[in-house]
């Protein structure tokens, strides 16, 4: 079997190499790239993200990413967002009181975690995945590695729309419930870092690669 090709979007900061290494270990042929054709044509696209919501959105806009990510989604071509790459798929992010527009694939705002808990939320936490989740298949009660101070803490998607299958939402908790993962047709996203989550993360990446 040939290894599915995965393009990992390179916008030049943080440890995005670990995503490439983990994807290769999990069975993909992954490469770090900013070449639009490669990013469009790969079997899977990974949008990693570290740093601030607004900075990541600016970096994405600078390379016209919202448009071609939209094209991939319209063509049912899989996309996986990780951490801030998960957050920017929502409508907007509010950091230090300043709102920035996200890609708006899903309703909801990325807001600060409650003030009564240790922040950043850093370390291994449990998740509560729905029964229909394909992403967490075979994973059970494993913990995943999170590093973030902001999260989507409400889900307002109309789950009754008959025209589409409702997204599978996985929750976690740190001071408040927040969205740990979304599976919505070709579009998948995790607030945690599967590439840093040991065996559980490797299984999750294999599950995603298996859909490519």
């Amino acid at each position: 079997m040939t290894r599915p090709s995965v393009a990992v979007l390179d916008y030049g900061s943080g440890n995005v190499h670990s995503a490439v290494r983990a994807l290769n270990r999990a069975g993909a042929a992954a490469q770090l790239t900013r070449d639009t054709q490669t990013l469009l044509n790969a079997d899977g696209l990974v949008v990693p993200g570290v740093g601030a919501f607004s900075a990541v959105m600016e970096a994405l806009k600078a390379i016209d990413a919202p448009r071609w990510i939209g094209r991939r989604v319209a063509g049912s071509r899989p996309v996986l967002g990780i951490c801030v790459g998960h957050q920017i798929l929502f409508e907007r992010g509010v950091e230090h009181g300043v709102a920035a527009e996200g890609m708006g694939e899903w309703p909801g705002e990325v807001t600060a975690l409650p003030r009564d808990v240790v922040v950043p939320h850093m370390g291994w936490n449990t998740v509560d995945a729905p029964a229909q989740s394909a992403l967490f298949e075979g994973i059970g009660q494993e913990r995943f590695y999170f590093v973030h101070s902001y999260a989507v803490q409400t889900w307002d998607f109309d789950q009754t729309l008959e025209v589409m299958r409702p997204p599978a939402i996985t929750w976690s908790h740190h001071g408040a419930d927040f969205i740990a993962a979304v599976e919505n047709g070709p579009l998948t996203a995790t607030q945690f870092h599967p590439e840093k989550s040991g065996d559980a993360g490797m299984q999750l990446l294999q599950n995603w690669i298996g859909t490519l």
């Binding site: 983990a22 850093m122 291994w124 590093v147």
Partner: protein
Amino acid sequence: MSLAVRVIPCLDVDSGRVVKGVNFENLRDAGDPVELAARYDQAGADELTFLDVTASSSDRETTYDMVSRTAEEVFIPLTVGGGVRTAEDVATLLRSGADKASINTAAVSRPEVINEIVARFGSQVLVLSADVARSADVASGFEVTTHGGRTSTGIDALAWCVDAAERGVGEILLNSIDADGTEAGFDLELIAAARAVTRVPLIASGGAGDPSHFPPAIAAGADAVLAASLFHFGPVDMIARVKDEIRQAGYSVR
């Protein structure tokens, strides 16, 4: 659901080799950081920290190569400290495959470097490592030191924690110079005092000599616990024993 207390082994490395040895059985090469990192990963470590003690900057390339080889094999968070002076040093470590960098003396000398690193890479990449000793010369009674505790700075350690957190560090590694090497337990007063003034994650370090020493550090406010000798020279299942102790005290572990 709750966040697990992280148990972190720390390995001293010099020119790409682990120094001070490790007591795992059946190691091909006790000095190979990649093999040791993989063993600690299997043993249940939640993160790994390399402390680079390489003296010569010309040997720094071997550190980057070591980090890169480790990151190829181990898929848990990897922090590298020692010799980090500038945002460019952090960039090189991240490119090599580190997830976080820890900074110590350079931040004491020039605190603005914290802001520079955080502005470029975000809070999550930066750990402030503070070597703290008790002293009557500062208000809180806890003073920041450098050079392994030999040099006093006159800086109040608690004020330094507050300042560093405001500048954006993602975590604080509190290393007690007084407790370090005693194997008599963590400095609980230091942990509690730091917890009272900051809400960033705290990693307790220094003094661990037995699994029973860990729950009190967590009760005092540590979010993570770091040790070196206890894991290197203890039995192979020491990480599991520590986690059992923490679990029995009512805290979550992975």
